[in-house]
Amino acid sequence: MDWLNAGVQGVLLGGQYSLLACGLSLIFGVMRIVNLAHGVLAVLAAYLSLVLVQQGLPLWLAVVVVVPVFAVLGYAVQRGLFNPALAQVRGSDSARQGSRGAGELAPLLVSFGVAVALTSLLQEVFSADTRKIPTGDLASAGVPLGPLSVGLLPLITLVVAAAVIAAVQVFLARTATGRAMRAVADDAGAAAMYGVDPRHTYAVATALAFATLALAGVFVGMSTQFSPGYGDLVLLFAFEAVIIGGLGSLWGTLLGGIVLGLAQTIGAQIDPQSGVLAGHLVFLAVLVVRPGGLLPRSVPA
């Protein structure tokens, strides 16, 4: 019974991780940037919604405000920071001129600088105390499922995660902009020949990623005690979900999140102190046994 419960909780927890991982996967898939600020940005979104809720806004309205704000932020971050960093990568590729620069490391270093600065800033503004977004009854509400009681909030999170991933997938597959995004990911130069402005397309992708990230951040804030430093864990969990699932596959990311959630809850069932560690170990095991992830993309990029 406990094991069954752990399994169900793991799957539900996986919903949160997949939602968190979706944006990380998207940004990497389109422009090969690993955004190390991903976690702290989710925490920022949680703080923003917390502030709005404390100002008296209903939670749903806070989400309606925070998500578009993050989309705009994502567009700006891409144009202002990541695109210039990417230009350095290209520069180091083509010219091979000898400026001792960061070269291909530039986007990584830039995002890391943002991550550390933002984490410390949050700490100064909100202190290191843990917070939680008040949700009234929602946090404790449960749905009976056979012999078990399943938390309503985790269930909603899982459903939202699946819906967001499906929506992003449809957007990528069916719309002209989504097609352009995949084209840019394949070959930015060739995409430009067909009227796609890579810099703008990258920014749209980041805007989308930031929007999903903000949504994920709000769900984290509702279900977990978070603090500025919690962004580090968020980043690691999101990253592990992406790698376990397989690079470049959003459905893989959903699966990866669930596997990670299962590993953590089942690990915690074995030893209450070892949940997170068990997740890390499963991740490392996947790395050793199946470096391509569980659902690797069929066509290599």
Partner: protein
């Protein structure tokens, strides 16, 4: 009968559905120069990569001095005397010209059977003197001594191409693989490169040279091998190969009635 220096047997390589080498075989002895021609996409550079060890063939074998090196990587083959230049020069942009060549002189040829002398010691003293001598000699042969202290990232094209060759030479190669070292050079620069390759061959180095500048190639090579779509379509005497109907067809199209019959620049 002695074993040829290089023996390539039945090499095949494909990328996804694209076949870039299909059952390619040839041999090469010391002091022999082989020209490699064919239209774009014929698989010439792939073949060079397979011989150099930067790519692993799907099938077939590569032997050096009768020793099977098919499964060895590029560094190990460099140790055994294989050196190559890249079509698009790949200098170590943040090192000077001399340092670039010193890399070649310091690392390759350290195993038994390798061509060069031991390169130096891994101590604070840096590469030993004989590595420096070899590096300097390679610069001298390629006429680059004047640019020794120039950062290689700021070299002009001819010098970058020379540097490719110098770096390869500094390894003390027995087999030199050259990928389009003449393309893009001016009419005045071309003879210098041609002269260099000929000297090397005369010194006993085996050379495989991919080149589109045909008259440069025909000045030097002893044999010509023409690839098309990954297959050897002609091999042998350079002037016969270049006039053979198959070669003319892949270059100019199927039904050309006139063939260039004046090919100047007979090798000495």
């Amino acid at each position: 009968m002695t074993e040829p220096l290089l023996r390539v047997t039945g090499v095949a390589k494909r990328f996804g559905r694209v076949v870039t080498a299909r059952d390619v075989s040839f041999e090469l002895s010391a002091g022999e120069a082989l020209g490699l021609v064919g239209p774009n996409g014929a698989g010439k550079t792939t073949l060079l990569d397979v011989v150099a060890g930067t790519l692993r063939a799907d099938a077939g074998t590569v032997t050096l001095d009768g020793q099977d090196v098919t499964r060895l990587g590029a560094a190990a083959r460099a140790d055994r005397g294989v050196a190559r230049s890249y079509q698009v020069p790949r200098p170590f942009g943040r090192l000077t010209v001399f340092e670039n060549v010193l890399v070649g002189a310091s690392f390759a040829g350290r195993r038994p059977g390798g061509g060069g002398a031991p390169g130096g010691r891994a101590d604070g003293a840096g590469p030993a003197g004989d590595a420096r001598d070899r590096a300097w000699h390679a610069l001298a042969v390629t006429d680059l001594t004047g640019a020794a202290n120039t950062p290689s990232g700021s070299l002009r094209l001819l010098d970058r191409k020379r540097l490719e060759v110098a770096r390869a030479l500094a390894t003390g190669p027995r087999l030199l693989l050259l990928d389009e070292i003449a393309g893009g050079l001016t009419d005045r620069e071309l003879p210098q490169v041609v002269g260099l390759v000929r000297r090397l061959r005369d010194d006993g180095v085996a050379v495989v040279w991919i080149e589109h500048v045909l008259h440069a190639l025909l000045d030097v090579v002893d044999r010509l091998l023409c690839l098309a779509a990954g297959e050897v379509i002609a091999q042998g005497d350079p002037h016969e190969v270049i006039r053979s109907p198959q070669v003319v067809e892949v270059y100019l199209g199927s039904t050309v009635d006139s063939v260039p019959d004046s090919v100047p620049g007979e090798p000495a």
